[in-house]
């Protein structure tokens, strides 16, 4: 094969439904050895279908109706099924979004890896095992031997995706179809997996077809990019050129649908606190192995203090398991803090330990990630939105329904929908109902737990706009919990970053995004390639602007080697590094009780 000749050529590919509607229309692109080519576009643009067509695994009802796909110059469309089986998993491999769907939960990881290898290559069990272990080590799995003999269910999403990557790369495929491979993963894990994929494929010469809606990631990792809309190629070429200096309107529309930071700096003006959270711990009891064993607790949130200021949008970011949702749930009184207290401006207090607590519930409402699940399937949306008003003390049912209808109109749901049941609505409409229900009672604080994560990008845009509009119209205060930094950057006035149950950094949005201090915040930002508009129709990949971040003097971020980590965690405290910008760090010197507690006292008043 001559160098430079494409390893995979897709030539005027057409995929149609049985009814004759074209899902993919006249798509052509080439892939060179070791190259990453990205297919981008909204859902419904046909990007996944192209990947499936290359694997010759089109779902029922779809068929290739024209064009050709050639691997190393040999047409795949003419290959008989028997030959195809050798190619799939051998020359062409695939990784999908949900690794659990691709791994068999009842077979050990190692066995599944070896199965693929031994199917395609003539190796004995011993050699196969050695090669699998070596590959697991390459994808940085810490204890390959142990993982090899364990079941996939025991591992996190990131680990599973690593297994998938390791097992598909074992056979040195020529082409790897990666369909949203990291969409379900946390930012830092996503970055690690992408970097490993890039490194390994460079080495082996595998070309990756990256199917993704994440334009930032594509701009960061892909060499070339194909922009699709409705099954047609809108633009293709050098990934950065196509995405950062878009030539076609459609790419611009895609880029502009992404959240963007408002030019005016986040509202850093100090408003009066609406809620003061002081040193709360939320602990959960572990399920006991036996009735005789000791009760054990997991501290999901440890010693977290912050204020929510009246009228602001305070975002909580962090990876899954960081305790960000738990903080939100403590605010709506779903979890009782086991220590510390939550003080509301109207004098209501929820403190840890003691039972009982406030009889009258402060006006805190919640918007859920899964709007559909948060609505009673047996209530019309009108009834659902009227419901909080009952607890809010409006006795007349007619009045409640009138207010509910007004509110539904406000969130853009017309009269004709008021008697619908939730299942009759689309995801975006359901979230509108969820939002209407949260604010209809005139609550002060809205806890929004990943309110747009389950929605398609264009719907996300609409819901974010609605949230912003209602925020200013009603003077609401949001605690906005999200793992999506793009959204946070657009919406938040202030940002708090959580890691393993601790608050590690809190400050104005600009401070946290432009001058992050804590290593975890920095890692999080670095792991999330974000595209920003720098001029009309010119975009750039955002990068961290401050080159270094030293801990505040007399403090350190890492745990001193001589100290037990648990002890160091207890000593850590929040230190103000700039105006209204706090970061969690550990005093360098073991400074006895007094110094430590003094710092804690400081932090109690300020963040």
């Amino acid at each position: 094969m001559a160098p430079g000749s494409p390893i995979l050529r897709v030539d005027r590919l057409q995929v149609s439904t049985l009814a004759g509607r074209r899902i993919v229309d006249d798509v052509s692109f080439d892939m060179l050895s070791g190259e990453i080519v990205a297919l981008v576009g909204e859902s419904g643009s046909g990007k996944t279908t192209i990947g499936r067509a290359i694997l010759r695994l089109l779902p029922n009802g779809l068929a290739c109706t024209g064009g050709d796909i050639a691997l190393r110059g040999e047409s795949l469309t003419a290959t008989p099924p028997r030959e195809l089986r050798k190619i799939r998993g051998g020359s062409i491999a695939a990784v999908f979004q949900d690794p659990m769907a691709s791994l068999n939960p009842s077979l050990k990881v190692g066995r599944q890896m070896m199965e693929a290898l031994r199917l395609h290559e003539d190796v004995d069990a011993h050699e196969a095992r050695l090669r699998c272990l070596a590959m697991l080590e390459r994808v940085r799995i810490e204890n390959p031997q142990r993982c090899f003999d364990d079941y996939p269910g025991k591992f996190s999403g990131g680990m599973r995706q690593r297994f998938m990557l390791a097992s598909v790369l074992l056979t040195h495929p020529a082409v790897l179809i990666a369909d949203e491979p990291t969409t379900a993963l946390d930012a830092i894990v996503r970055r690690e997996i992408m970097e490993q994929a890039v490194e390994l494929t460079r080495e082996v010469g595998t070309a990756i077809l990256l199917v993704s809606h994440d334009l930032g990631m594509v701009a960061q990792y892909a060499e070339r990019s194909v922009v699709l809309k409705g099954g047609r190629v809108m633009d293709q070429g050098d990934a950065r050129q196509v995405l950062l200096q878009p030539r076609v309107d459609y790419t611009r529309t895609l880029l502009d649908a992404f959240p963007e930071r408002a030019l005016a700096g986040g509202g850093s003006t100090r408003r009066s606190p609406l809620v003061r959270v002081r040193n709360i711990d939320v602990a959960f009891r572990k399920s006991r192995k036996s009735i005789l064993s000791r009760k054990e607790y997991v501290r999901a949130v440890r010693d977290v203090s912050f204020d929510i200021r009246s009228g602001e949008i305070l975002a909580v970011v962090g990876e899954s398991g960081s305790g960000k949702s738990t903080v939100g749930k403590a605010l709506v009184d779903l979890y009782k803090p086991s220590r510390g207290e939550i003080l509301f401006a109207n004098g209501i207090e929820r403190s840890g330990g003691g039972k009982g607590g406030a009889r009258t519930r402060p006006q805190v409402q919640m918007i859920f990630q899964d709007a559909g699940g948060s609505l009673d399937p047996r209530m019309t949306i009108k009834q659902a939105v009227a419901e909080p008003l009952r607890a809010g003390g409006i006795a007349a049912a007619a009045e409640r329904l009138r207010r509910a209808k007004d509110m539904l109109a406000e969130v853009g749901l017309g009269d004709d929908m008021h008697d619908c049941y939730p299942h009759q609505l689309s995801g975006g409409q359901r979230q509108r109902v969820g939002i209407a229900r949260a604010i209809v009672g005139g609550g002060d604080l809205i806890v929004a737990d990943e309110p747009v994560s389950a929605l398609d990008v264009s719907i996300q845009r609409q819901i974010l706009d609605l949230l912003k509009q209602l925020h200013s119209a009603y003077g609401l205060t949001y605690l906005f919990i999200s793992h999506d930094l793009d959204v946070v950057e657009e919406l938040a006035d202030r940002v708090m970053v959580m890691q393993r149950g601790c608050l590690v950094e809190i400050g104005s949005r600009d401070a946290v995004f432009d001058d992050p201090r804590h290593p975890y915040t920095r890692a999080l930002l670095e792991a999330t390639p974000r595209i920003r508009r720098v001029a009309p129709s010119r975009y750039a990949l955002a990068s961290l602007t401050n080159r270094h971040a030293d801990p505040p003097s007399g403090h350190r971020f890492d745990v001193p080697a001589a100290e037990p980590p648990e002890h160091a965690v207890e000593r850590a405290c929040m230190v103000e590094v700039a105006d209204d910008h706090f970061v969690r760090c550990i005093p360098s010197v073991e400074c006895g009780g007094t110094a430590g507690s003094r710092e804690e006292a400081d932090s109690e008043d300020l963040p």
């Binding site: 779903l334 409402q365 948060s374 399937p377 047996r378 419901e387 299942h423």
Partner: protein, 269 residues
């Protein structure tokens, strides 16, 4: 399709209930009237379903049997689903030691096959006129509790229950307004199932001679008596047998139809 189930099942049940009503009010002949002249008379214009070995009119006995069977199955269903729903909802929603105790007792009851339990209970209660009803209710309560409790456990996890609590609704309100309406579908389906089981079990008890005492007509009893005359008078077996099958078919179709109708989410499918 779902409408067909409902319409066909509903029609059958209406016919069965109408038969039961007629059986209770008045039948063409006295179902216990013995007439030696008509002994084992085949079906004719005067005796549509023929006569049995005592010369009693099988049509009248079938109607009368319908009344008894429907009454026993109906009462059993009311008692079992009523008690089962209350216990199941409380156990599922309140949880804790109550739940543990309920599950233990129900598991113990479930360890016995329902019919065996019912036979044992009927024997213990022999004499009491409602013995079959009580025995069958006890036998079926665990099934209701199990289904309802599981349903409530699932519903309790749903975000809309969380949302209700965030709104400031009391537990009692949440139970009444959000949990109960969402178990109605389940309860309806299980109650039609139990009606069917009870109908069959009542016939089985009567067949075994544990139902209402002899002169009274019952489908199971009629079936049992017919065994000795099957070669000469097959209608004696066929008529009550068909009556049982027909009613069961109606109950099952109606149950499926109800489930489809009561679950708003099924609309799309």
């Amino acid at each position: 399709m779902k409408k067909t189930n409902l319409v066909v099942g509903g029609s059958i049940i209406v016919i069965v209930f109408a038969a039961a009503l007629i059986g209770a009010i008045g039948t063409p002949y006295d179902p216990t009237q013995i007439d030696a002249a008509d002994r084992l008379a085949p079906p004719s214009w005067s005796h549509w379903f023929g006569c049995d070995e005592w010369g009693r009119d099988v049509f009248s006995r079938t109607l009368s049997g319908a009344a008894i069977t429907v009454a026993i199955a109906g009462l059993t269903t009311l008692l079992a689903t009523g008690a089962g729903t209350i216990v199941g909802v409380s156990a599922g929603f309140l949880g804790g030691w109550l739940d543990k105790a309920v599950v233990a007792v129900m598991d113990a009851l479930l360890a016995f096959p329902a019919l065996v339990l019912a036979i044992a209970m009927t024997t213990l209660l022999s004499g009491a006129s409602l013995a079959p009803v009580i025995a069958l209710s006890v036998a079926y309560v665990p099934y209701v509790v199990r289904v309802v409790r599981t349903g409530v456990l699932t519903i309790r996890q749903a975000d809309y229950i969380t949302a209700s609590s965030i709104m400031g609704n009391s537990a009692a309100y949440t139970l009444a307004r959000h949990v109960a309406p969402n178990v109605v579908g389940l309860v309806t389906v299980i109650s039609t199932a139990i009606f069917g089981w009870a109908l069959l079990a009542e016939s089985a008890l009567s067949f075994l001679g544990l139902g209402l005492p002899p002169p009274a007509a019952s489908w199971g009893g009629m079936l049992s008596d017919s065994r000795n005359y099957f070669a000469d008078a097959p209608w004696l077996a066929v008529v009550p047998g068909l009556a049982i099958s027909f009613s069961l078919l109606g109950v099952n179709l109606l149950g499926d139809g109800c489930r489809d109708l009561l679950d708003p989410r099924m609309e799309r499918a």
